[in-house]
Each structure stands twice: as C-alpha cells, then as structure tokens.
C-alpha cells in the first residue's frame, strides 16, 4: 500500500466518483481515471502474473505499451474482453475487471512454482524438452503448458454486439494528437483540405495531458479544431495499420467506456481512410532499464509515474528512487517532486550529469548517485528497497524505497512508418531507429521523427551488475518473460540474426509486440556479440498496432452476411418439402429429401430406386452457364476445349473437356449449339466464374481477332433435370413445339420450344445413365415449371432427388466430378477421357502439354473402378491404396479413393480411385489399410451399370 491520491492536480473530476470492481472487490476512482490510476491511488501495486514464471507484476507504463497489467473486462454474456491494458481502460460505474493468469488468486498463485524452477525454463525450453515422444505433446505437454502459461481466456459465447464500418477520404490524415499532431492538424486545416486527426486515448492531447503547463493551449487548440468544418477529430480511435497508398485502417471504440446500460449502438467502428498525405505523430515510448529485479511490482517507467501524477493526480509511491541513464529521468523526477510525489534519490549510470539538472535535484533535496546502478531490488509482491553500487560492481549500498522509476531513454513509435515499408536509420544520439526514407506521401513529426527534446542519455542494454549474465534475473520482455540471459543463451547457441534470436527467445512476440523490449533486446544481443546494433538487424513491425477485436474486422460481415448464400428459384420448394441442404461453392443445394424418419442412406436409396425404375426430378439450376455468341464462336470453343466443335451441328450437344495450358483437366460440361453463331455452354457449379474468366483472358489477350461475345447466364436459367425411364412421359403433356420422339429428338440433342407456355431450351442429356431431359427455362419461371413437372411426375411416382443421389447415379456410370475425381494433376487420358480429345485438331488449350515427357510416361495415376471384396464395405473417400498390405510402414501408397458410395441399384458398394498404372491392373486386388482393418478391393473399369448405354436411348 504505497500509492496514494495527491491532494490536488490532474485532469480527473474529483466531484464525480466512479465505482467499479477489480477481482471481485469493490473499488472506486474519479471520472477521468484509468483502471490503473484508480487502483494505484488505492495502493494496489500487484496487477498480474507473468506469462511463463507467474511472477508478480505491477504497472510498467501509463499507455498502450503496458506489458504487465493485462485485465479481462466482463460486460455480460459474450461481452468479455481479455488482455486489455489497465492504463488504457477508462473507469466507469459498474466496470468489472479481473486480473489474469493466476490460480487461485493474484496474491497466492500456486503456479508461481514455475518461478522457483525458472532455471529449468530457459530460452527454447519448450522446443528442447517436449520433443519426444510425439504423442505426449498433444495429450500431456500441451494441455499442461496451456494451463500454466498464458494470457486471458477467450470468450466462449457468441458476441452479441454489432460493429460498424465506414470509408473516408481526406487530404491529410494525422495519426496521434499530441502537441506535434495537433500542430500538424491546425496547419493542414488552414489549407482548406479535409483533415482527419485520430488518437487512441480518451481525449486528444497525448503528452500534453501530462503537462499542466500546456493545458490552456490544448483547450484552445481543441476548440479551434472542433470549430472547423473540414476537420474530423476521432479520439478512442487506434490506427491499427498503414497499407498501400496511404490507406490507413483505424478502429474507433464507441461504447466500451460507458456503463453497460448506457451503451447503445455499435461497439466499434472500423475506419478505412484513404489520405493524400499521412502525418505520423505517434510520439515515443520510454525504454525500461534491464537490471536484477526490474519486474518487481512498483518498478515502472519514469514517464508513467509522471503521467499518473500530473494527469491523474496519483503518486505511485511514498519513497521513490529513480534509475536513469537519460536526462528525461531527472526532469520527470523534478516534476514529480514539485507535484508532491516524494522522490528520495536519483541514481544515474552516467558520472557527468548536466549541472543544471544536478543542481535542481539538490535544491529539491533529492539524493544523487552519479555513476551508480541499481544491482537488485528487494521485495516480492511490492518494492521494499533497492541496492545500488558504483558502476554496478562497487560495494553495495541499500536504499529504502517503495517504488523505482526507470528512465532508459526513448524509442520513437515508428510502427506505422514500418507498415508502410518506410526505412529506418540508427541514430546514435537517440540510441534508437528513426524514420529515414519512404515512397509514400508520408512523414513523421514530433517525437516519432526524433524531433523532440527529451535531453540526452546513454543507450545501454543490461546495466552493469556484479552477477554474470547467465545468473541474472533481469527482464527484457516482461509480457513474454524473456530475461537478458535468455538472449545471451540464444547467442551462445549460435543465433546471430535478431529475427532468429527473437523467435528463439520469443522476445517482442507477445501481444505488445515488444513496444518496451525490442530495443533492449537488440542492445543486449549487440553487446554479447560485440557487434554494432546496426549489424544485428531489426525485426519488422506488422499490423495491428495494438490487439484488435475480430468484431471490428468483420463489421457487418457476419452470420447471414458473412458471405452471400446463393439459392435457386426452386430452393424454397425444396425447403417446403423437407430438403436437407449442403453448400456447394456459394450455392445452397438440396442434398436429399428424407421422408418420415428416413436417414440419408434410406432417402438416397429410395431416390436412386425411383430414378432407375421410374423418374426423378432434380434442381440443376446451379450449373454454370455461359452464352457464347458471334461469327467465330465455334472457332473459339474449338481452341478452348479438347473436343472438336466446328463439326457440331446446330441442335446438338457435346460433352466438353477444358484443360489448363498445363494439360490438366480444370472443368467440364455439356454444351449445346443453338445456331451457327450461338452456343449454350455449361460448366461445373463451382467453376463457372473461373471458366468465364479464363475464356475472357484468351479472348481479350491471345485471340482478340476473334469476333465472339461471352455472357454469364448462370442465374438467367432455371434447370430442371427429369431423369428416368418415364422422363418423356412426364414432360410430354407440358411441352409444345418440340417433337419428343426418340427419332426426332435423340440423346445429346437440344430443342427450343415452350413448356407450360414458357420458352425453353430443352436438352436431352443424362448425368444418370437414364433417359433424361434438362429443362432450361428463364429463372423467374423455374418454380412454376418445376411444380408442373412435379405434378406430372407424381402420377408416375416420381421422387425429387438431391445432390447425393445425383452423385451415386453418376458414379454408377463412372462419370467424373471435376475436383473430386480429378485434383489438378489429372490429364484426359488419366481420367479415361482420351476419347474426348480431338486427335485431328492442330491446337487447343493444353494440347502441347499432353505430349510432355512426364505426361506420356508410363505409371501415371489413372482413374479406375474398385469393388470391395466385402460388398457391404463402403470405402472412405480419400483413403490411401497400397499394393502389398504386409510391407513395412511407411508403406508405398499407389493411389487414393476419389468417389465411394453404396449403390442400391447394385446392392453393394462401388468406388472410383486414382491408381498408379491403374488400367494395367485390371482384375488385381489392391488394399486400403484403415484403422483396425485392411480392406481388399478388385480393380475394374470405372463403369458399374449399363455399360452398353442402352438405357439412355429409351
């Protein structure tokens, strides 16, 4: 209990109390307090337990750089946010916050035993220790490690909030509303252009909020900005990333600062701002110092203590020692002392101190120890004292204190500069990387540009200490529990690049992305390697600047709006008739139509029986469709597809096979020639957009001399497949103007006429092996025509069938599904479709590749049929196939099962597979090892039913 509320000062409203709870205990603060300042004022020093060792941790910083004091804020079911930084959480009435990573409580953490055994948890420990046996990782080590190490818990219930999103455009965007940012905004606004000024804090002002001398100016500037029509000021808004061409994404927090009952509207709003010029005024973050005990609660940044005192009216201790290597520590100490915060001593590693600072400190009755360093801090849950020594190695001297402030110099906040690929240069006087060159219209101002007077100082890694490095418990990365000696160990084990050292030690890889640890880690690596910092390299900052909610990223794109769900015009009929759906690409398709208590197998068996014995009706509207029109349409298709098209007569259909230039199958479909210059193409459901894009590519860029027009007509036509021996009887009463007799309308023909009075393109085609028609009608008439066909079908006992039955029926015939029986490495010959390749054609897309050495080499995987020896065994699709089940593991896999179903028609299972040299293995027995048993199957041609095709011609 050492922090306390100062009698006056700060920007808090002392007339308005706020009550809240922390770890279940009632607490209070003032309006304007952060969770950190309110608790510090109550004497709370302990805020969290560290990630790996569960060491007690207090507050380090006063802003988003805070690595230790992570809290979970609970705003009701589904509204629990972990890993918030206590200094950035404003208090409001009813705020419910809890500390993290402790069990059972913050003061008594049983897992802190890790700390006692910390010698066994060095860098790379997990990688080295938990390697073997492999199975134990998943079952034993990982669950334990996850329990022991970690941050807050993820919410487990659905987030009920909604999130807004918007685009904005402006001439000038300024990120960071400290004095430099505000000055830049006023300057830009005077030019008349649109100006955005955004800042992550509760109010604008940045560093000026901690400097009462600037408050009058700040109030004036804030009012001036508010009065300008061309200026938009957004506070509580974090610029999370800079993307190409000055596209900045920022998240505005709209309601989290309000009591739950007063929070209406969206929780956050994601701004996507395109700016002519971006000005980064993101300031600088003070660097901690690395010494033994620098993580004891009560050790914090000097600048943080200054902010707590001057902005929030809170003293962080009653006897405070400052450990500085930089002038700014002295200035902060003097400002704190003047504000009534008791500073007892300033320790500085430098022997030569600016006389003006030294004199001022003496005048303020502060003891000064130039040339000294803190060598240890006593206390466990709070600072109880510090030991100092001349140059870190002299005789130890104890200082009585309850808080230690660190002033290690400043690191400019160049994160967004780096997102934009701006280069950095090492500045010796700052001991930090400063912005150098960029190709964007982007500049830095103020402290993040190095243009700020913090005074001067040393750039040090580990403070000099009596203990050797490998015994030191000085921390570099507080959030990931990385010690100076871990970096030493990484170097000793051969790591040289900072990118490798970072990943091995996890320095800078926690949720704070190393805002306070990167430079210290770099400096220590540089010292250990005896090479300049500039040769060690620098890790790359990536968005987001601070952790960001998924909600804001998604905006409105969730649930039904996550992605479009495409439905055919017949979809609602299917829904009314109890269809079970599956999603195919973005389409919702009826998978099967269960009756009564039928499961899928029973429904599919019945649907298959009806199609084979009478008739079935199927909604095929999702097929991709392209209208190809123009004098050169036939020539164009002839070049695109493997098949010959020029000879196809109007009124006829052809199965088309489309290859990539690499010779592998990428799509197929039946297409019809309606007139010499007009084709109705169909593609696979999922391939429609891709095929159209590919055709446009060739048409526009390779064969722009061809006079052809391509139009996507997928959604213009409803397609109703009527399949089965009674198919003609079903549609006959409805069709006008088309002679349906087998002689006048043979298989693979197309006719135009009307059905139910609606224009139709009637295809006589079959994906089932039965007599079949596909009725194309304009989409808006699809439902009406479907119902008429259904009414006729019912007279014949018709079944509506779904995609599952469609799959079984086509597999019985050995028809492939592109993407299921092919995988992007399958040629027409591999798939047994060599007949579809026009041998006399001089060229088509992919033809040259079919003569490549690897394509004509023997032993390629070929599509074959498989019949399991046990007719009731249904193979698993994707299962691997071997020739000899008795060979040692790992076995030589010669192929895999691509399609497998139970065929009611045949009373047994059937399968297709891609098998090396498959067509030379006819009659062979192959083996499919599965958990618990090995299934044997015989190879045959992939054709299980009506091989002569007589049923097609009914």
């Amino acid at each position: 209990m050492s922090g306390f509320r100062l009698a006056d000062g700060g920007r808090i409203d002392r007339r308005t109390k706020r009550t809240f709870s922390f770890d279940g205990k009632a607490q209070w603060g003032y309006a304007g307090d952060s969770l950190a300042s309110a608790l510090l004022a109550q004497g709370q020093m302990l805020f969290g337990r560290s990630f790996k060792y569960h060491r007690p941790r207090g507050i380090l910083g006063a802003g988003v750089e805070e690595p230790n004091a992570l809290v979970t804020v609970d705003r009701g079911p589904g509204r629990m946010t972990p890993n918030l930084r206590a200094p950035s959480v404003p208090v409001h009435d009813g705020l419910t916050a809890t500390s993290q990573n402790r069990f059972p409580s913050l003061k008594t953490d049983l897992i802190a035993v890790n700390n006692v055994f910390s010698a066994f948890f060095p860098a790379g420990f997990y990688n080295k220790t938990f390697m073997w046996p492999r199975a134990a990782w998943e079952k034993v080590y990982e669950p334990i490690i996850r329990r022991l190490a970690g941050l807050g818990d993820s919410p487990t219930t659905r987030d009920p909030d909604h999130y807004d999103a918007t685009y904005a455009h402006c001439e000038t965007l300024i990120v960071g509303a400290g004095p430099a940012g505000i000055a830049a905004a006023l300057d830009a606004a005077a030019g008349g252009g649109r100006v955005f000024l955004i800042d992550e804090q509760e109010e604008i002002g940045g560093g000026a909020l901690s400097d009462p001398a600037q408050w009058a100016w700040l109030a004036e500037a804030t009012a001036k900005l508010a009065a300008m029509d061309n200026v938009t000021v957004l506070s509580r808004t974090t610029a999370i990333g800079h993307y190409h061409q000055n596209f900045v994404v920022a998240a505005e927090r709209l309601t989290d600062h309000l009591p739950v009952g007063e929070a209406h509207g969206p929780r956050e709003k994601l701004w996507r701002i395109r700016a002519g010029e971006v000005v980064l005024a993101m300031g600088a973050i003070e660097r901690p110092l690395v010494f033994e005990g620098n993580d004891v609660p009560g050790v914090m940044l000097a600048s943080a203590a200054r902010t707590f005192a001057l902005r929030y009216g809170v003293a962080v201790g009653r006897k405070i020692v400052v450990m500085a290597v930089h002038d700014s520590g002295w200035r902060d100490a003097l400002a704190l002392q003047a504000a009534g915060v008791p500073i007892t001593a300033i320790v500085d590693l430098r022997r030569d101190i600016d006389p003006a600072l030294a004199d001022a400190a003496r005048d303020a009755r502060i003891a000064c120890y130039p040339g000294y360093a803190i060598t240890s801090v006593s206390g466990s849950l709070a600072v109880k004292g510090a030991t100092i020594a001349l140059a870190g190695v002299g005789k130890g001297q104890k200082l009585d204190c309850d808080a230690v402030l660190m002033a290690g110099g400043w690191t400019p906040t160049v994160h967004l500069w780096s997102h934009a690929k701006g280069s950095l240069r090492w500045d010796e006087s700052w001991g930090a990387f400063l912005p150098d060159k960029t190709h964007e219209n982007l500049r830095c101002v103020g402290a993040c540009a190095g243009a700020w007077d913090f005074g001067s100082g040393l750039s040090v890694g580990l403070l000099p200490a009596p203990k050797p490095l490998h015994e030191s418990k000085a921390f570099v990365d507080f959030q990931n529990d990385v010690k100076a000696r871990d970096i030493g160990l990484a170097v000793q084990e051969g790591f040289r690049s900072i990118e490798h050292i970072k990943r091995y030690t996890t320095n800078g890889m926690a949720t704070d992305q190393g805002k306070t640890s990167n430079l210290n880690g770099l400096q220590i690596a540089s010292d250990v390697l005896s090479r300049p910092v500039t040769e060690i390299g620098l890790t790359t900052f990536r968005p987001p600047y601070t952790p960001q909610s998924f909600g804001a990223m998604l905006g409105h794109h969730k649930e039904a709006l996550f992605q479009p769900l495409r439905k055919s015009g017949i979809d609602d009929w299917a829904q009314a008739h109890g269809a079970v759906y599956e999603n195919v690409a973005q389409w919702r398709r009826a998978r099967f139509f269960p009756q009564g208590s039928e499961d899928m197998d029973a429904a599919v068996a019945r649907e298959c029986r009806m199609v084979r014995s009478s008739v079935g009706v199927f909604d095929a509207s999702t097929l991709g469709k392209i209208e190809v029109v123009g004098p050169d349409a036939a020539e164009f298709l002839n070049r695109m597809y493997t098949n010959p098209w020029k000879s196809l007569e109007p009124g006829r259909c052809r199965y088309g096979l489309l290859l990539g230039e690499h010779g592998f199958i990428i799509d197929d479909g039946v297409s019809a020639r309606l007139a010499p210059d007009r084709f109705h193409l169909t593609t696979t459901t999922g391939g429609a957009a891709r095929v159209l894009g590919m055709m446009e590519d060739y048409l526009q860029t390779e064969w722009s001399d061809l006079d052809v027009w391509l139009t996507s007509t997928t959604e213009q036509w409803a397609v109703i497949a009527v399949q089965g021996p009674r198919a003609r009887d079903v549609i006959a009463p409805l069709v006008e103007g088309i002679d349906l007799s087998p002689e006048a309308f043979p298989h693979m023909a197309v006719r135009e006429g009307t059905i139910c009075g609606v224009e139709t393109r009637l295809f006589r085609v079959s994906f089932t092996g039965e007599l079949g028609f596909e009725v194309n009608v304009p989409a808006e008439h699809g439902r009406k025509v479907w119902e008429a066909i259904w009414a006729e079908g019912e007279k014949h006992g018709a079944a509506a069938y779904g995609t599952e039955t469609m799959h079984v029926l086509r597999a019985e015939k050995g028809f492939i599904i592109v993407g299921q029986d092919t995988d992007g490495t399958v040629t027409p010959d591999d798939a047994g479709l060599g007949w579809a390749v026009g041998k006399k054609k001089p060229d088509f897309v992919g033809k040259r590749s079919l003569a490549r050495p690897d394509i004509v080499a023997p032993g390629r995987k070929q599509l074959v049929g498989l019949l399991t020896d046990d007719a009731q065994d249904v193979l698993e699709e994707g299962a691997q196939i071997v020739a000899d089940p008795n060979q040692p593991v790992p076995m030589t896999m010669i192929g895999h099962v691509t399609s497998s179903y139970y065929s009611t028609t045949l009373g047994r299972s059937i399968a297709m597979a891609l098998v090396a040299g498959g067509r030379d293995r006819m009659g062979e027995t192959l083996y499919i090892p599965m958990p618990g048993k090995t299934i044997s199957a015989k190879v045959l041609a992939p054709m299980f039913y009506d091989a002569e095709g007589s049923r097609l011609n009914g």
């Binding site: 395109r274 230039e661 894009g693 446009e696 590519d697 390779e702 001089p842 033809k847 040259r848």
Partner: protein, 90 residues
C-alpha cells in the same frame, strides 16, 4: 489496399475490383507444336520474378472486365504505369 489506374475506365480504383493476372508480355505461341519440350516449359512455368520493375497483367474484373498491363515495383508496390493490352512493353 492498392489504388490501380484502369487504362480503359481511365480512373484509379481500389484493388478489390481487380484480379492479378501474372507476368505480362508472355504471348502464347501461334503454333505450340513447334516448341521443344524445353521451350514449352519456359513458356508454361518460367517467370522473370524481378526485384524492382515488373510487367504484369491485371483484370478489372468488378469493373469493365478488361485485361491490361502494368509496371509495378515489386519492392515498393508502387505502380509506375498501366496500359492497354496490345500496347508495346513500357
């Protein structure tokens, strides 16, 4: 997000309206059957992959639908220029 100038629409539009189309100025041979296996491999798979100026194809898919060419710096992602399909390499 990149802003890309479509030479057909004559307007800079956001990247989401476009799809990338690979390296530009790789013409499909008029008669691929005259290509040796090595030449065909070169055509199919071998790309220049430069550090710096890169000639590449884009398609304004969610706009005019046209393919065009661009010169983009692969280090900075800055577009130097865009030009219509069929125009000489820039």
């Amino acid at each position: 997000m990149l802003l890309i100038h479509c030479p057909y629409c004559e307007e800079a539009r956001p990247e989401v309206e476009f799809v990338y189309g690979g390296e530009a100025h790789i013409a499909r041979p008029l008669d691929p059957s005259t290509y040796s296996d090595g030449e065909w491999e070169e055509f199919l798979y071998i790309r220049s992959n430069p550090r710096g100026r890169h000639h590449e194809r884009w398609r304004h898919t969610h706009g005019c639908g046209r393919f065009f060419n661009a010169v983009r710096d692969t280090v900075t992602d800055v577009f130097e220029t865009t030009y219509k399909a069929g125009e000489a390499r820039k």
